[in-house]
Symmetry: C2
């Protein structure tokens, strides 16, 4: 009767001597079926090794049991931490999480979104390459619940969750100024990335409001936010004339900061005495560096968790209102800016 096929509800029904509908009820509304038959059905299921076919379920019920996250850069642990937060929220809601990686390429992102659309996922969380890309508008037009992560989107088209990047830039520079630095580098890029732009804006704001010469906040642009770009920024820094050379660097993320740290130490500089370094994100590896890295912490898991809750609200609550959640970043001071001699 089963010749090889994996068993279906029909087989279970036959084995338990009940109708299809009853088997379905056992799975979906166990409270409406009597204890005796429920037990009988459950035994039949486990004897046959029945596994519910999710495609059929989804087709008929019209609703999928998965969320998706399209991350920006799989080589940056920051995004995996965000994903972990989403995963936890998804787990609570008994949903699966589909993780995709656009690798900063808009075309890849579009391909992933198309697939997710075909999948009819319940909601999409995304850290977009470009929040103004047309394929994002299309999601909205289609009514797919979506929330933008790590970037504040334009107010009323969708929800978003992010940290206040301008403030992040401010507190990083404030900290360096407090440590007595009067010439500071900002390292990061491309500036088209909103995160980078806003951190730079915050840095400049604070620098000016402390009464410093704008010329003394030196912007060293990079191609990407990677360790190797951090290293090469270090070389450029070393190449500056001594009286122009900054005594501290604020990097737009921790990967850059780690690269810069490595290059500096390799070149014989003492960190923080010759060069102080502040990163951004506060990934695990920042704290684990040989000279533990001062960094502007984002609540990474919390970001993900909050985003998942918003997308779920949009998916299930008929009078959902879009909102822009903004978390407050926090400076975590470590040895890369605070000299041991000075503190002790």
């Amino acid at each position: 009767m089963l010749n090889g096929r994996t068993p279906s509800v029909k087989d279970v029904a036959a084995a338990a001597g009940v109708s299809l509908g009853t088997v379905s009820n056992v799975m979906n509304r166990p409270e409406v079926v009597s204890a005796r038959t429920r037990e009988r059905v459950e035994r039949a299921m486990s004897e046959l090794g029945f596994v519910r076919n999710e495609s059929a379920r989804q087709l008929r019920a019209g609703t999928s049991r998965t969320l998706a996250y399209v991350m920006l850069d799989g080589t940056n642990p920051f995004f995996h931490d965000v994903a972990q937060g989403i995963e936890l929220a998804a787990e609570d809601a008994d949903l699966s999480l589909f993780i995709c990686n656009s690798n900063s390429r808009s075309a890849r992102e579009a391909v992933h979104l198309d697939r997710l659309l075909q999948q009819r996922v319940q909601g999409i969380l995304i850290t977009p390459v470009d929040p103004a890309a047309p394929h994002l508008d299309e999601l909205i037009r289609r009514g797919v619940p979506m929330v933008i992560v790590d970037r504040i989107g334009n107010a009323d088209s969708c929800c978003s969750v992010a940290v206040d990047d301008v403030l992040g830039g401010r507190i990083a520079v404030e900290h360096l100024a407090e440590q007595g630095h009067t010439r500071v580098a900002f390292i990061g890029g491309p500036e088209s990335l909103g995160q980078v732009h806003e951190r730079l804006v915050g840095a400049r704001e604070m620098w000016a409001s402390l009464g410093n010469d704008p010329e003394d906040l030196i912007y060293l642009p990079t191609e990407t936010l990677s360790v190797s770009e951090g290293r090469s920024a270090g070389e450029r820094l070393a190449g500056l004339a001594a009286r122009r050379r900054p005594t501290a660097a604020f990097c737009a993320n921790d990967l850059l900061a780690l690269g810069l740290l490595q290059q500096s130490i390799g070149a014989g500089l003492r960190v923080p005495d010759d060069l102080a370094i502040v990163g951004f994100d506060d990934i695990e590896f920042a704290a684990a560096a040989a000279v533990p890295l001062t960094s502007v912490r984002q609540p990474r898991q919390e970001l993900g968790r909050a985003a998942a809750q918003l997308v779920l609200d949009e998916a299930t609550n008929p009078d959902h209102r879009h909102q822009q959640l903004q978390f407050t970043p926090e400076l975590v001071a470590r040895a890369s800016t605070v000299s041991r001699n000075r503190t002790m």
Copy 2:
């Protein structure tokens, strides 16, 4: 006619004035439909904004378009690199990749596998908590294509892809011996993890075959393979009596090595002069450390790619034979074992 619903093939067929079957052919066998109607159908599709419903496709066609990878530890970048390799292979085969994380917990792993079964994924790649767990046998019994990654499974029940961990242990210790070390620590755990066990076995083999006293290869067990365990191993190391204290440490993975490196430098040791360190895996952050880490490289992406190819073969090739693919690890010597003074 469409009132709100997302359009189906039926709507497209009506709009283009053809039958359902023709629309399906346009999507699946475009060569059998005439250029003129194909064009008409395609126009109708884009005008209506048609997106194929994957559940329905999968239900009818009986075959899904996704692979899944269940990774062991989401905090270790090594596994993300493996996942990236799988993703590339999946992309080539036009499949999606579902990534799950068991977080080293068998129960979580079982939950994920159950969901994947319901999803009827085409194949499962997994780095298992315990390769002998019953839920893995069940996959095999059900005939789901599966390959074990980063661990050699028992010969003929399924495919597996891994690096020769025993050899990895040997070359690490050989390298340290060559650098003149006569007392070496092996740091790692739990020993129940096959990878750890075999690396230790290799280390001991090589140590003995070089004619050293087994007593001088000191095993410092850890609870997990994490940065913080690396730090605490460093403290234990520092606590040893000076004449017992090793001058070099071989860590079972790079996270441990990074933790050890940090702790050692913080305690004022010079690396490699006071303590040489070798890691395992060669993740990006190993090369990016302040003192770049010598490490036993695994071909991370290649591991994933090969595993994906095996699972696809099992899924599509009727006379597939299980095989155990074994890659050769390679020592990458960097500053954490090779003193600058010595090389120059």
